[in-house]
């Protein structure tokens, strides 16, 4: 693909690229893209936070921190929930807040035990709405077998919040000899997905002004501790807990973001098969309409597991026998090259790269 470079072209190529007025990475203010889970978010976390709090646990950058306290292994995690609208088909901000933190603990191999919840309430929030949110949290906590043991409440002026923000922090007990970490995927491992992707994100999007449409599915908001247990039980029965390498719940940024993180941390590649990835027709319709890719849409009740090939089929069966995993599939496998990248074999037999998101995925007309 070489063409002789003539003189004028050489002049162009010699221009100093550094004098470009266009960089948009170094925002002087925080922009929405910083919260989307993609490259902007990662940059923010690394440059602003990790750089100031350096310690080996933090630098692992897993969804939870595993701590040794007097010989007992504990998992510790925190998450904030700012979703709008606060009530949506299939759930609400309260259920998300409980399940989201329970899931972060569970996919790290911990038995979720205790939660703390901090609320920032906007002046003017109807008390009935708050009651509804907290009722929902109570039910979710009971279902997940966790206790809410401490909390905090603040109220901010009208306009300075968005009805309610919830931060939950969770503690779990690492009660099994798992070795789950994003850097453990190896060539030959299989990639399992527990079910239909994109339900939550599309449900939320369908409620957004300007993009409303009908027929969106419900959010898949759910606690995954039971599904995780089923997977680990099967691995244990097969003789080796460590053959489950890593599990993640693909929330904001979707399956693509989580798989890229694992590929990069493990310094391995991944090849997925588009035909194996389950997407509901309604989610497909919405994504086609808005020009979105389901691989990047948020989920709140799904998990991705990378497991050793010898137990993959057994683990898949165990997954499918659980109510939250009935539509589980093996969607691909880990390979050696290209290191750190996720590829996908498309419906028509071509190959594409499933890259990391930059900022928010936006509806497009092109």
């Amino acid at each position: 693909m070489s063409t002789k470079v003539d003189e004028s072209e050489q002049q162009e190529l010699a221009q100093p690229f550094g004098s470009c007025p266009l960089p948009i990475f170094d925002h002087p203010q925080i922009v929405l893209g910083h919260g989307s889970g993609g490259k902007l978010s990662a940059e923010l976390i690394e440059k602003v936070f990790v750089s100031r709090f350096r310690n080996p646990t933090l630098e692992k950058m897993d969804d939870q921190a595993v701590l040794d306290v007097g010989g007992v292994r504990l998992a510790f995690t925190t998450d904030s929930f700012v979703v709008t609208p606060i009530f949506f088909p299939g759930g609400d901000i309260g259920a998300l807040a409980v399940n989201g933190t329970v899931n972060d603990l569970a996919v790290g191999g911990a038995k979720p035990l205790y939660l703390a919840a901090a609320f920032i309430l906007e002046e003017g929030l109807p008390a009935a709405d708050l009651a509804r949110v907290v009722d929902s949290m109570a039910i979710a906590a009971q279902n997940a077998g966790v206790q809410l043991v401490t909390g905090d409440t603040k109220v901010v002026n009208r306009g300075k919040g968005d009805k309610v923000f919830i931060t939950t922090t969770g503690i779990g007990h690492m009660n099994r000899a798992t070795e789950l970490s994003a850097d453990r995927a190896r060539p030959g491992d299989k990639i399992l997905l527990s079910g239909f992707i994109g339900d939550h994100g599309i449900t939320i999007l369908s409620q957004r002004e300007g993009l409303e449409f009908e027929g969106a599915p419900e959010s898949d908001c759910a606690a995954l501790h039971g599904l995780v247990a089923a997977i680990l039980d099967e691995a244990e029965a097969a003789g080796d807990l460590r053959s489950v390498r890593v599990m993640r719940d693909p929330t904001r940024g979707g399956v693509a973001t989580v798989l890229n993180e694992i590929a990069q941390r493990s310094r391995a590649g991944m090849i997925l098969r588009e035909s194996e990835i389950p997407v509901r027709e309604t989610v497909r319709g919405a994504c086609e309409l808005l020009g979105l890719d389901p691989l990047y849409v948020a989920n709140e009740g799904k998990l991705v597991a990378v497991v050793a090939p010898q137990i993959a089929d057994r683990v898949l069966s165990a997954m499918q026998q659980h109510t939250l995993g009935t539509d589980g599939r093996i969607i691909g496998e880990v390979v050696e090259q290209p290191s750190g990248m996720v590829l996908m074999r498309t419906f028509v037999g071509g190959t594409r790269v499933v890259d990391v998101l930059f900022g928010e995925q936006l509806p497009r007309i092109c």
Binding site: M1, T3, R280, T282, A286, E288, I365, C366
Partner: protein, 91 residues
């Protein structure tokens, strides 16, 4: 450019003086303006771009052309066997 997808018209109505339709895309439904394809009836498929139906799908033509595609290999079998690929790319 031009993300436009086909959807099925499930209802037509007037709104603010514009002819509108509820259009179904694989299970999700959204309204689209029908002023540019005013003769469209319920059950037909339209191509929708940014909330406007810009053309109708000619279902007979779709069927005919798709059949031709599906039957492609029957013609191929009658032809000569493959020759070697030409060497050297265009660039």
């Amino acid at each position: 450019m031009c993300l436009a997808i086909p959807g099925r018209v499930v209802e037509t109505f007037l709104q603010n003086g514009m002819r509108m339709a509820r259009v179904q895309f694989g299970g999700v439904t959204r309204d689209a303006c029908l002023d540019y394809v005013p003769e469209t009836t319920v059950g037909e498929y339209v191509l929708v771009h940014v909330g406007f139906a810009i053309s109708r799908v000619d279902e007979k033509e779709a069927h005919r052309t798709y059949q031709a595609l599906a039957e492609l290999d029957q013609l191929t079998e009658l032809e000569a066997p493959i020759v070697d690929e030409p060497s050297g790319g265009a660039a």
